[in-house]
Symmetry: C2
Subunit: 187 residues, 2 copies
Amino acid sequence: MATTAKKPPMSKDSLLPLLMGHVLAHGLGQASLRPLAKAAGTSDRMLIYHFGSKEALIADLLTHIAGVYAAMLDAALAASPRPGNRAELLAGLLAQNGDPAMQPFQMLWWEIVAGSARDLPGFRAAAQAMVTKLLGWLEAQMPAGEPDPAGGARFLLTAIEGAAMLAAVGHPDTAQDGLLAGGLLQA
Amino acid sequence: MATTAKKPPMSKDSLLPLLMGHVLAHGLGQASLRPLAKAAGTSDRMLIYHFGSKEALIADLLTHIAGVYAAMLDAALAASPRPGNRAELLAGLLAQNGDPAMQPFQMLWWEIVAGSARDLPGFRAAAQAMVTKLLGWLEAQMPAGEPDPAGGARFLLTAIEGAAMLAAVGHPDTAQDGLLAGGLLQA
DNA sequence: TCGAATCTGTAGCGAATGCTACATCATCTT
DNA sequence: AAGATGATGTAGCATTCGCTACAGATTCGA
């Protein structure tokens, strides 16, 4: 009689989005099996069954997150008009990074960077995938008439990531000022 | 008879350098009381006694690390000649960041950034202190005749941190290429 | 239909976690 | 000398950790 859905068959693919939600909300550092399982509506027992180990779960989860990120960029690329110049592109990127909706993703990103720096299993690959994707997206978004789109995209990427880091440590204006002084932004 | 030193009185100040050594070697994420105590030649019991709680210990440790970092920059400032131009300064900074001896510090740095992004107690303050110190150091190191040393320092800081992040995630050349394309480095 | 393979729940294990109770020892004041 | 104060060791507690053993349940092919 009850409206409870009986059999949505559980699988990695059905679990990963729920796990991602928990990790976005609470961070990777505090991600232990029982809370993760609770967030996904299962038990730690099942997580181990499907993923084999926590280490494998985290690795799978990171690749899934990288995939979601890539899809987001693809959607953004299809939706947004090509900016007219570098400053406009950079300003848009900074605004998007600063968007509160992006904050959980940003916080997760720094945990991935830290894990990548320590070469924890799965972290380096996910971080590289996301950076590579972002770099490609940037090249595609470079304004028409750029003499060196690849180099320009790499330049912007470096600036964006530096700005994101400074924002993360509570120097929100420092990067803005620097990019203005460097002529990458217009007042 | 034995040459064992009996009473070096234990204190926060005597413990912090040893704790820092352990954290540089193994990371903050795996820093639990018993291993930390072992590295410092004590017991978890004593760490709690001196610091009150693990949370307070970590906060004290981060402040200490920020102080050590500041002292390192002061020493470097006194020792190094003023570079002749921005590209020279930037190249020197990138080389220093890439130095293998700096790698433990870099890995720790990303953990601090991640903690700061999540606003873990003590992390934001330590990160801000270090960034502020580095920014001041950069301003003092800006080549003579710079029209806007403060803005230039912020610009370089953004670039350096972006480059460091890209190196941490296994894109070691991307930032280099970008900074070349951006005219901040000379080939 | 029936056996086999695939799922899932319950219960728990051994280790590690942060922290505490209690007793002991050293030192310092009066 | 006597007591007070601070420092240290031993032992343990309650909780959480990743993971496993075991037993039902379910599903699917023969």
